[in-house]
Amino acid sequence: MSYFGLDRPRSPLYYTAWKITFVVGLLLTCGLFYYAAASVHYDWRWYRVPQYFWYSGQEDIRSDFSGTVKEVQHTPSGTVIRFAAEDHPGELVSMTLGAGSEALVQPETDVYMGDIIAKRSFSKPGILLEGLWVTVVVSSFAIVAGIGIGLVTGLCRLSNNPALRWGAITYIEIIRGSPLLVQIFLWYFVVGFVVDALLGQVGLPGIAPLWYGVAALAIFTGAYVAEIVRAGIQSVHRGQMEAARSLGMTHSQAMRKIILPQAFRRILPPLAGQFISLIKDSSLLGVMAVRELTKATREAVTSSLQSLELWFTCALLYLVLTFMLSLFVQYLERRAVR
């Protein structure tokens, strides 16, 4: 499409035919997968997946006393059961059951301590939803920090000050030259170990692994963002800086008002790609005991054995996240069309 018009025009039939080819290819691939899955006698149990998003269950409530139930009273804040307890002669003792509970005893029932006297229904977010949330939180923090780090490093990379420039180059080269997984291990087992030990010496609690994860991702992404920022700034024509300076603006005024706004629009597409990578890379944080989406899926698979459904779901959730991010960036791009 980008070089449209340089070759002879195609007939409408050409486009229709290839569109059909695409759809057929897609259906065929799906069909093949379906056939393969069907022929290994796997029991598809999609109905088991929702419970990993939202879990509803009942729990037993047991009696704290031995004695006789004297009264079951329903109040707005829950059900109150009063007992004539053996070890509290002459007075009534009571238990308050929280909302959503249902008493299983009537007045004059004899109970022993530990008997089930009520059931309480509850529902809470399932492990997949919790994992998804952790992934969103980790990625968001890492993206924001990564932009900050990348912007500063990118500017340092272009600075005339050798300390700043070499510092930026060193950081970028080290980070880009080692695998993210190794960096995550370093953050967790080396930095985390040392920092937590030091904090422990002064009597402070350690830092949650999640924050080491955020740091690992932010520092990793920052190096790539720095290179994107640098390329973006360098892509702005030199004459722009000269024009701004010739009007008496300082270097930093020209940078903020003239160069960066123009660079911003050009770096949005590669930035989007970088942040999509970051969301996907957050799946590595499972190795440092951060229960993000991938780790959560693994745990769910271990307990349910419905691995195909759950891994499909997992992939789909990542797809939704990355797709939303790229929609957001496209929106920004349209807004910053100048």
């Binding site: 000269e242 009007l247 008496g248 003239i258």
Partner: protein, 243 residues
């Protein structure tokens, strides 16, 4: 107004080049000075040394009573007093025409946006494109863009205007409108240093004509002296080629 004394400029990349060789020049207040010369003779380099877009390696360049090669000189304040117009316009593409004119007065001179807007509108009026104040530069023709660029420089109330081949990137039919604006400026007594190949303009507007070749000033004088009675062979050769 501008006094360059024994200015030398070297370039080291891609190879050593002595771009300005002991150039001395004085521009009086209110004077319109036109620099001509073959391509690569150092005209742009010299002009850019006058507001330190290029840092001259030796000599002195006094602008408005300050030696701009002095390390202590406040170059931003000085540049605010020296307007520059580029061959390739260099308008800010992410800002509207009006914002192009108001940004620097607001950020550098600290003018209120009302003041800056009024000044900008009167300048756009003057260069004849007030009705385009809300559009972006890429929606303008080359001639219009260059007139906006002149207005942008004028918005800072400069003492001197430097023009580096302001019409060289324009289609022929647009050259006139830009030269008209410059002619008006010269008539109003603006101090101007103009690098150009428009000999008609030079003949008509220049108080003094300077011919540069190979990094040095070869000859200077009134337009009549140069056009009718050039002394130097290189000047004669250049004029015969261009006229």
């Amino acid at each position: 107004m501008i006094h360059a004394k024994h200015v030398h400029k070297y370039f080291w990349i891609p190879h050593q080049l002595h771009a300005l060789k002991d150039v001395s020049l004085e521009v009086a207040k209110g004077e319109a000075l036109v620099i001509i010369g073959p391509s690569g003779s150092g005209k742009s380099t010299f002009l850019r040394c006058m507001n330190r877009l290029e840092y001259a390696d030796a000599g002195e360049i006094w602008v408005n009573g300050t030696n701009i090669l002095d390390v202590d000189c406040d170059i931003n304040k000085l540049r605010a007093e020296v307007g520059m117009v580029f061959q390739s316009f260099n308008l800010f593409p992410h800002l509207t025409v009006l914002q192009n004119l108001t940004l620097a007065p607001e950020t550098v001179l600290g003018r209120s946006s009302k003041q800056a807007n009024e000044k900008a509108m009167s300048l756009l009026e003057k260069v004849g494109i007030a009705e385009k104040c809300e559009v972006y530069p890429d929606q303008l023709s080359g001639g219009q863009q260059q007139r906006v660029a002149i207005a942008r420089a004028l918005a800072m109330d400069p003492q001197v205007m430097l023009f580096d081949e302001p019409t060289s990137a324009l289609d022929p039919e647009m050259v006139g409108e830009v030269l008209d604006v410059m002619r008006t400026l010269a008539r109003e007594g603006m101090t101007m240093v103009v690098v150009t190949h428009e000999m008609g303009f030079a003949r008509e507007v220049a108080d003094r004509l300077v011919f540069m070749d190979q990094g040095a000033i070869v000859e200077q004088g009134t337009p009549e002296e140069i056009f009718q009675n050039a002394q130097n062979d290189r000047t004669k050769l250049f004029l015969s080629q261009i006229l």
